[in-house]
């Protein structure tokens, strides 16, 4: 334990500075704001993550957001256990038929105003799983998606930039 403490003092902070919102993410969010007349949610967002059929690669990188390097809680981004406490539904995977109902129920349980963020290529267009009979189809056909963070899986830095756009969006 002493080594941990010594490192904490001598090595300085592991946390990286804020990368700021991604320009393309800002644009997409601004568009969603205009189209759906949503108001911004302020400086703090509670996020409920739902795996709707992912290979778990996206979950690994979403997990990394809470590690000391990215530490997204400092931006007011917090992962919550219940959809009833959430502002943002963060969805991964190509949406399997077997997860469809659970996903819809989680969305319905969230209080308005609420946002949907699709994470990974699967959430955007089903990725490599497109065309499978066990897959419903892209997330945007099931829920109103405000922002996509693409990648297979998207690296944590891209996720941070995307999520910051939700906070920084004008409106």
């Amino acid at each position: 334990m002493r080594t941990f403490l010594r490192d904490a003092i001598l090595k300085g902070m592991a946390t990286i500075p804020s990368p700021g919102p991604g320009p393309s993410a800002l644009e997409e969010v601004a568009r969603a704001l205009g189209e759906r007349a949503r108001r911004r949610l302020g400086r703090s967002l509670s996020i409920r993550e739902v795996d709707a059929g992912s290979c778990n690669g996206c979950e690994l990188e979403i997990h990394a957001l809470s590690n000391p390097v990215y530490d997204v809680e400092r931006f007011g981004l917090k992962f919550v256990a219940s959809p009833r406490h959430a502002d943002v539904l963060l969805v991964t995977g190509p949406v399997t038929w077997n997860m469809r109902e659970a996903l819809l129920r989680a969305y319905d349980a969230m209080p308005a105003p609420k946002w949907v963020v699709g994470v990974g290529d699967c959430a955007a267009d089903c990725g490599v799983f497109a065309g499978s009979p066990a897959v419903v189809g892209p997330l945007s056909g099931i829920l109103p998606v405000d922002l996509h963070v693409r990648g297979c899986p998207p690296p944590p830095l891209d996720l941070v930039k995307g999520l910051l756009a939700l906070i920084e969006a004008p409106g």
Binding site: G53, S54, G93, M99, V128, F129
Partner: protein, 494 residues
């Protein structure tokens, strides 16, 4: 009762293919006798799948280092159930019935498994009867498919008496995305991409297993440097998950200091994987014929430094862990897997090794460079959360030793070879992922496309043991038990 037939007797000296598996065509009697052999402990059931009118069973005998794939041609899809003799086949047969319409005769549990009654064009009932548990003062707790934290979906039905779990029943299949359907008819490039997404946390292991199976089918030779690079990536993947999960287990016991250190170490590995191989999880880096990314001379130094740091962190975490009785109070004697169940289910990885099953595909059926490398197989006998955690810390140490040998052996050369003429054929491979052995079988059509691919995750034989391990524990200890298993939902559901 059917008299058991041993794998050695069934193979009867028949030579194995280049992939190490002998191919046996069997009739119903021999099929049942082999299934009874699994139950009698003569050999292990490694996989069971349907393949265009055939039903096939991969079996292995670790003691004699024998492996075979037995095939039965059933009349109209009806065949004698393996699960009737050997319970570990149960979920595999239920899944096969749902997906391929096979009809295992005498299947002890006729409920669907992956088919939740939601697929279009299928008329299965969406209702599902959980197994009964009768007794005074029992109540049920239903958890999932969506869990409280950021993990994959699955349903857990606890029956408890007060705090104590009397029965846990899992219901999986929520992330079934039809991977095997997509693989049928795919070309090799798409096949490799799909195989790398069977379970994202084992993308290197699956990539390697798929590539090896294809290479065995085609007689495709892989350059020596590529073989070493595959192992380097596989050990990086193993170390990243082991250190990350050790932290996550301690986090479930509220020791945040260890969790933070482990998360930093894990991030260190992923950042270096990105720098050296161009992808944090090293997805799509292993392809049939070799690898896509070479390790530069600077990269070799970077990886050496990384494993040095990682080993120092591991040693310090071990010291801190040993000095915290309050942490061990949560892990020691929690979630015990019994050795006889581990043997019966042939549970791989740290789940098996923590309960005395000395099996590691890298040792038992050595592949790639592992046969000539010096590393120890770590086992424990307690089978509890603590034992699984200890095995994983030990394995980080062994991966560090392996890594330095692998880097020492790297000599300049090609990292990928041209494909030979594409012909019909089949091959199989068993690769040790961080959580245990993954099996991939590939059959190629004469057009060079994949006719049938089957993948069996280590989790398939670990999930049922979690049901047993939690019995008699309190519900509040389920998260720490579950994390100490860390089974894959995606790899299981396919």
């Amino acid at each position: 009762m059917t008299a058991p037939l041993s794998l050695a007797a069934a193979i009867a000296g028949q030579a194995a293919g280049p992939d190490g598996y002998a191919r046996l065509e069997v009739g119903e009697a021999a099929w049942e006798a082999l299934a009874a052999g699994c139950a009698a402990g003569l050999h292990d059931l490694s996989a069971l799948w349907a393949d265009e009118g055939l039903i096939r069973m991969a079996l292995s005998d670790s003691e004699r280092a024998l492996r075979a794939i037995a095939s039965l041609r059933p009349e109209g899809g009806v065949y004698p159930s393996v699960a009737r003799h050997h319970a570990p086949a149960l979920r595999l047969e239920r899944a096969m019935r749902d997906l391929y319409g096979m009809r295992p005769e005498g299947l002890p549990d006729p409920r669907p498994w992956l088919d939740h009654g939601r697929w279009p064009g299928r008329l299965n009932d969406a209702r599902y009867e959980f197994l009964p548990a009768d007794g005074e003062g029992l109540h049920q707790v239903a958890v999932g498919p969506i869990h409280a934290s950021i993990i994959e979906p699955g349903h857990f039905r606890f029956t408890a008496n007060g705090e104590t779990v009397v029965r846990l029943e899992q219901r999986l299949g929520y992330v079934h995305k039809g991977i095997e359907v997509l693989l049928a008819g795919a070309d090799l490039e798409r096949g490799a991409r799909l195989a790398g997404r069977i379970s994202g946390d084992s993308t290197v292991a699956y990539g390697w297993a798929f590539a090896s199976a294809v290479e065995a089918a085609l007689g495709w030779r892989v350059p020596p440097r590529a073989v070493l690079l595959r192992a380097i990536m596989a050990e990086l993947e193993r170390m990243a998950h082991h250190i990350g999960d050790v932290g996550a287990i301690c986090n479930d016991a509220s020791v945040i200091a260890i969790h933070a250190q482990c998360a930093l170490a894990r991030e260190d590995v992923l950042a270096i994987a990105q720098a050296c191989f161009g992808h944090r999880l090293m997805m799509d880096r292993i392809v049939p014929g070799g690898v896509t990314d070479d390790l530069s001379p600077e990269g070799i130094g970077t990886v050496r430094n990384l494993v040095g740091r990682l080993d120092a962190t591991r040693a310090e975490i071990r010291r801190v862990y040993d000095s915290m009785p309050s942490l061990q109070d949560r892990t020691v004697t929690t979630g015990i897997t019994r050795p006889e169940l581990v043997r019966q289910y042939a549970a791989g990885g740290f789940v098996g090794r923590a309960a005395g099953r000395a099996f590691d595909a890298r040792k038992t059926f050595a592949y790639g460079p592992y046969g000539i490398l010096d590393f120890a197989l770590s086992t424990r006998t307690a089978g509890d959360v603590d034992a699984r955690l200890m095995v994983r810390l030990d394995e980080i140490e062994e991966s560090v030793r392996l890594m330095s040998q692998l880097l020492d052996r790297l000599t300049p050369g090609a990292i990928c070879s041209e494909p030979p003429a594409l012909v019909a054929g089949e091959g199989a491979a068993l690769v040790e992922a961080f959580r245990g052995d993954v099996f991939v079988s590939v059959r190629l059509g004469s057009d060079g496309r994949l006719a049938r691919v089957h993948a069996r995750d280590a989790s398939s034989f670990q999930w049922p043991l979690l049901e047993a391990a939690i019995e008699g524990n309190i519900i509040a200890d389920f998260p720490i038990c579950n994390k100490s298993f860390n089974c894959s939902y995606s790899g299981h559901d396919l």
